[in-house]
Subunit: 764 residues, 2 copies
């Protein structure tokens, strides 16, 4: 054994680009499931070090250096631009499709109602160029029944064609995708989930699905689409193709931009990515996300799809001050948000389980039934009939800026209360059924719309209470004359509360809400409401809806919460793993081992007796090195195998010439990770979990007094989290409180989407 202080070999030797490429190719097909952040980061450092050695003072080298230094920023710039452009196209398509359900522009079929009638309204306040379908076929313009039938027909057509596209071409583009993105950003790989086909179909499908009138939003899918763009754009760059950890940084930035364009909320997007999505969020990623969100927002605004010139979606300049007594009602709204979130999550997950069990074969039929029934039922209520964003802009508008359907009329209070309550309930029910169908769908905007109807209702009630009893003790803080309660603000807070209830966001939610509306005076009420929502939601004990879907789909994900295992790591490790010895193994026995096991990597020890850890080699690299040695050097079956570099070249630059094999021996030294992380078997499982979460290795070896005793992978930790009676999301769970919350779910993380290698393989 050599003393490690003498050799000082660099931890990860640089390899040739072809080697890298080939290994990654193999790795992909061998279904590596987890990203090894440490290894990837080391690889990146080795790459930079290697680049330095190749650089000189020539112009060509200088250009290359500038390109290298800015590579990430160019990619982020391009990603941001494309996300903005894509969002603009989806917006325009959605508007056109929504309008085509109602009628047809005679001056150009490609124009939606707004552009068809741009400065073209006649004196009756209608626009002659825009023909309802009844007029197109020769019936009266006001033939409501015919128009209604056409409307339902178009809605069904859109939804069905969307479901068909999704089903046939890109199954991954169904749903919101947030759960999978969280899993991917935490370092797992889901093959094809961020591919070009998914991008195309999800973009098209999103426009179709939203314009079909289903009770779904476009925010979640927008994040997924943005991440697809991030993946597709970054793939041609070698820095990201070979380095999944680096690629995750681009995806974090892209997801921020996705939220930014969906809500027109660049800062909210960055915070959403930080608080909700990303597991690793160094400062550098923060700045890149900021930049990406900025670029995406600017490019969306340059397209100006809404022709308003404004980014703020529901501009509301509430200039009234709030009163301290109103805190009671803010708390009420917060409680509503928490309860709404808990109920919707619970029932939606049940519906999803039911769908998985019984409706799996009929996705298109399900979507068709849902769309048609939504269209029919929602026609009966003015707060359900129109587009959700439109309704919200009315609900969040103060009465002084204009009435909508009697919302501000004193004599309409009972009628409006009833309509708003019904809208709240009916849309909640449809959302429970719609979110998770096999079309691209988000739950953010429906939740906000539901919260806004409830909030406006509460506001109207409080307002009329004040009108009836202006001198009640409760209202002593009100001015003696003039209005005191503004229902629009209650709608605004209700929208925030409901969104907070489903997502369990806090800081990012407050920022999104006030980027959406500009209601800066109301930041403290918003914070109070969101805080109460969070507390009430936590009482029900469920995470956000994305976390629930992660559990439902069995996606591998180490969440950010703290857990208590109460056992040392020796209890959860794999004992006596299959190992290779550093010296004296013959090639045929290694090949037999590869054939006979499915392990994704092997610890290397000096001898089976001593079990001193020498290093770690992954299956993919071992296989590649064998194949290459066979091809290039004609290595024989009984060649001796070494896992230690014997004659390391003195300088790294001539490493490519380094011959590591001969017909009678193979030296795998170049492929060995010489310094895998190790822990003591008495180390607490909690600390090992921290190591996985914060440092992100693929596995950790367990070693005591120099002997290898076992190994732990991220999956072992996940399994322990599922099995352990005391592993819990809560800090203070008494020991007797044994059943974990997910007893109805598979204890072993399994997936029904095709995940890279997450089929319960015993190791790595």
């Amino acid at each position: 054994m050599s003393s490690p202080n003498e050799t000082h070999s660099p931890p990860n030797l640089p390899r040739t680009a072809e080697d890298e490429s080939a290994i990654r190719q193999i790795s992909r097909y061998e279904d590596f499931s987890t990203v090894d952040w440490i290894e990837d980061t080391e690889r990146e450092r080795a790459r930079i070090r290697y680049l330095y050695t190749t650089w000189d003072r020539s112009w060509r080298s200088l250009c290359w250096r500038i390109y290298e230094a800015g590579q990430t920023w160019w990619v982020v710039l391009l990603v941001g631009l494309l996300i903005g452009v894509n969002a603009a196209i989806i917006s325009i398509a959605t508007e056109w499709l929504s309008d085509i359900k109602l009628g047809y522009c005679t001056t150009g079929w490609w124009l939606n109602e707004k552009f068809c009638c741009w400065e073209n309204w006649n004196i009756h306040g209608s626009c002659p160029d825009w023909q309802p379908w009844s007029a197109v076929v020769g019936l009266s313009r006001e033939n409501l029944l015919f128009n209604w039938i056409v409307y339902v027909g178009f809605a069904g057509l859109f939804a069905v064609s969307c479901a068909f596209l999704v089903q046939e071409y890109a199954p991954f583009s169904a749903g919101s995708g947030i759960a999978e993105i969280k899993s991917i950003l935490s370092g797992f790989i889901i093959k094809g989930f961020l591919g070009g086909w998914t991008l195309l179909i999800k973009s098209v499908g999103l426009a179709l699905a939203v314009s079909s009138g289903l009770s779904i939003g476009k925010e979640g899918p927008s994040v997924h689409v943005a991440c697809c763009i991030g993946n597709v754009v970054s793939r041609p760059f070698s820095k990201f193709r070979y380095n999944r950890a680096k690629q995750r940084e681009i995806l974090s930035a892209a997801s921020a931009a996705g939220v930014a364009v969906a809500f027109a909320s660049p800062i909210g997007g960055v915070l959403f990515s930080l608080e909700e999505l990303s597991s690793q969020f160094p400062l550098k990623t923060l700045w890149r996300s900021f930049f990406c969100a900025l670029i995406a927002t600017v490019s969306l605004q340059a397209f100006n799809p809404f022709r308003t010139g404004k980014l703020v979606m529901f501009q509301a300049s509430y200039d009234k001050d709030w009163h301290f007594f109103e805190v009671i009602f803010y708390i009420l709204l917060g409680i509503f948000g928490g309860v709404y979130g808990a109920l919707v999550i619970k029932f939606n997950v049940r519906v999803a389980a039911f769908r998985k069990k019984y409706l799996k074969a009929h996705p298109i039929g399900e979507v068709a039934v849902l769309t048609v029934s939504t269209a029919i039922v929602c026609y009966l209520n003015i707060f359900l009939r129109n587009d959700m964003s439109e309704i919200m802009s009315y609900l969040l508008r103060e009465c002084k800026d204009g009435d909508y359907s009697g919302l501000c009329r004193v004599d309409y209070v009972p009628r409006m209360t009833w309509l708003l309550l019904m809208a709240t309930v009916v849309r909640s029910v449809f959302t429970v059924f719609s979110y998770g169908t096999r079309v691209p769908c988000g739950i953010f905007v429906p939740s906000m719309a539901i919260g806004a109807t409830f909030g406006r209702m509460l506001g109207i009630l409080v307002q009329s209470l004040h009108r009836m009893r202006p001198h009640a003790l409760l209202f002593s803080g009100c001015p003696t004359d003039g209005p005191c309660i503004e229902p629009a603000i209650y709608a605004f807070l209700g929208a925030g509360a409901a969104l907070g209830g489903v997502t369990k966001m806090t800081v990012s939610l407050v920022v999104i809400m006030f980027e959406l509306t500009g209601a800066l005076n109301y930041i403290v009420p918003t914070m109070i409401t969101v805080m109460v929502t969070k507390v009430v939601g936590d009482l029900f004990g469920t995470g956000g809806i994305a976390d629930q879907y992660i559990k439902l789909y069995g996606l591998p994900f180490l969440d950010k919460e703290e857990h208590l295992f109460n056992v040392p790591v020796s209890n959860i490790m794999i004992q006596e793993p299959t190992v290779l010895t550093a010296h004296g193994m013959r090639l045929h026995s290694i090949e037999a081992l590869l054939r006979g096991t499915t392990y994704k990597g092997f610890p290397i020890v000096d001898s089976l007796a001593e079990m001193h850890i020498y290093g770690f080699i992954t299956r993919a690299e071992l296989q590649y090195a064998i194949d290459k040695a066979k091809q290039q050097h004609g290595v024989q079956e009984d060649a001796q195998c070494f896992f230690q570099i014997h004659n390391l070249p003195s300088s790294m630059s001539n490493l490519a010439d380094y011959t590591y094999s001969s017909p009678s021996s193979i030296d795998f030294g170049l492929w060995v990770n010489q310094s895998p992380l190790t822990v003591d078997p008495r180390q607490s499982s909690e600390t090992v979990l921290e190591i996985f979460k914060k440092l992100g290795p693929r596995m950790v070896l367990v070693e005591h007094e120099g002997r290898l005793l076992g190994l732990v992978t991220r999956k072992d930790i996940l399994r322990a989290l599922h099995y352990s009676p005391t592993a819990s999301r809560q800090d203070y769970v008494p020991l007797e409180d044994t059943p974990p919350q997910n007893v109805n779910l598979a204890p072993h993380p399994q997936v029904d989407v095709e995940l890279d290698s997450f089929h319960g393989s015993p190791s790595i």
Copy 2:
């Protein structure tokens, strides 16, 4: 040696409260410098586990459980409340002191001008109850010279008494404190920095210093004061007193609240704590910071010190849209911000070094000279004469809301340009000299004021350019009639750019800027400006001013940037550390070792021949255990020492009865950390740095094939960062670019403030 798989002893055994308390007491006096996050977290888990075993189903137990579960939240609530109250008191005191320089309220000396004259203005627009000092002594009300002398006198008096208080009673309360807070939050301990005296003197001194008219702000000190409150409030709670890592969570929340009350920007505060201050920021801390900032803001608002009922400091409802061509000017403002930041940081650090060298003995004289010269020079410029916040509110106000001193007059353009330029330059110079004097002082508000004067100047110039050449190509995006350029917005962006230049913030800055003003339409311009500022600032290669002060003071701090060492950890570790053997050592030899070394802890090995790691024990715990054993059991000098528990009690509840010593032997097993983190000597230093940054242990042992080879502490890493020619903040520094940026600074981190044990002790 026992197999670790058989014993399964819990990693950290619970100890009695007295033991904990006593050891912490020793530790404090033994000057532990670094927080061991892993150990503290383990300790907390052990505490919870132990609590479970003591709980039953009685009422008393239930109450205790509820108290335990909510303890952190109660503490955060209390901290937030007190921060809000303290901020309100400081605000009121500052206003009163500022006004007392000008005159005196005849109806009550404790009233400032605003309250004195509340609804009491006479028909001439003046207030008879408020007497200028000239009138008080019987001279004419308009005797400007006399008033001016009194004004300067008061200013000098305030500043001198502030400097005296600081010098005599709490030297730590000088300066902004942000640099030290960053170091503390990253896990180092600065004794007395967050104490009660510092809190009191800094609060009083802040009011005095700000009202003296020095070119300083109150934001940085406000964060320091908030952290003092967090420390003082959390200390009585055992959960935090014995657990520095938990205490850091409270401090993170408190610092968020400190920014929140200073800027009236709760979300900005949370993000500032996240982006700028805290090294460890788990989700839980995010929510607590959010809560703490909310409570502090609400309690400040309840006091309503400004009697405006608003939180927004410089309300500005810019309803104009911005034009794409203006991006050129936004970039110009960004460049200004970057250059301003770089220059101010550079010269301020030089002044600070000069002060350290030559002015250390005369802090009060320095402050007096500075205050008087500031008062004299600034009187000559209307944009320097008044309070900075007041000036900013004029500069950020659109012309349609009223003029100030001719800012909006077309014929005043040259005059205003000149005044604004002079104000920019003069205030910059005074800021360079003032920030860092021995009074509480921040740099945020002065920077914003400087940026606002420059921005307004640029805005006025662009506006008059548009007026002269309305049809120039540049202005083709403008409306054909009416105004196009709004100088107030340039002032707003300039303020953000200058603040960004000094602090290098991005996301939190944007949020703070738009929480300060409510200028939501301008979020994209703000982002562009801040991004340019950041890029330009990074070109100059310096971190924010807090980072520069960290370097200047030699504070220990592992920043969040990436570094390249290019060497394995064996190059930076301490080789062959002093060890203890697990069996057979005699007490007198251990005591000799303790006397003969200053190491703060010792690895325990099975034998000097094998060097198998058995565990780690800190000096404080070793000393405490020896003292206790001597007292209680009369242990003799030649007693045998064991570091391994021989007869572990079967249940944890009777652990208190476990006798671990006899007159002839001591068992230190209870005090041994049985699972210290270990790495291979070939592990890259970068990964070890990541371990320190993300997991936060106090030291990491270096082990190869079971043999202990060395140990690494956070200080060794810091030292390596200072010495290593390639350790750099930049990703892509060529190898030949050797000199580190801080060549003029001590290569060995040393401190001139009294730091716990950071006097270059060789180990831990």
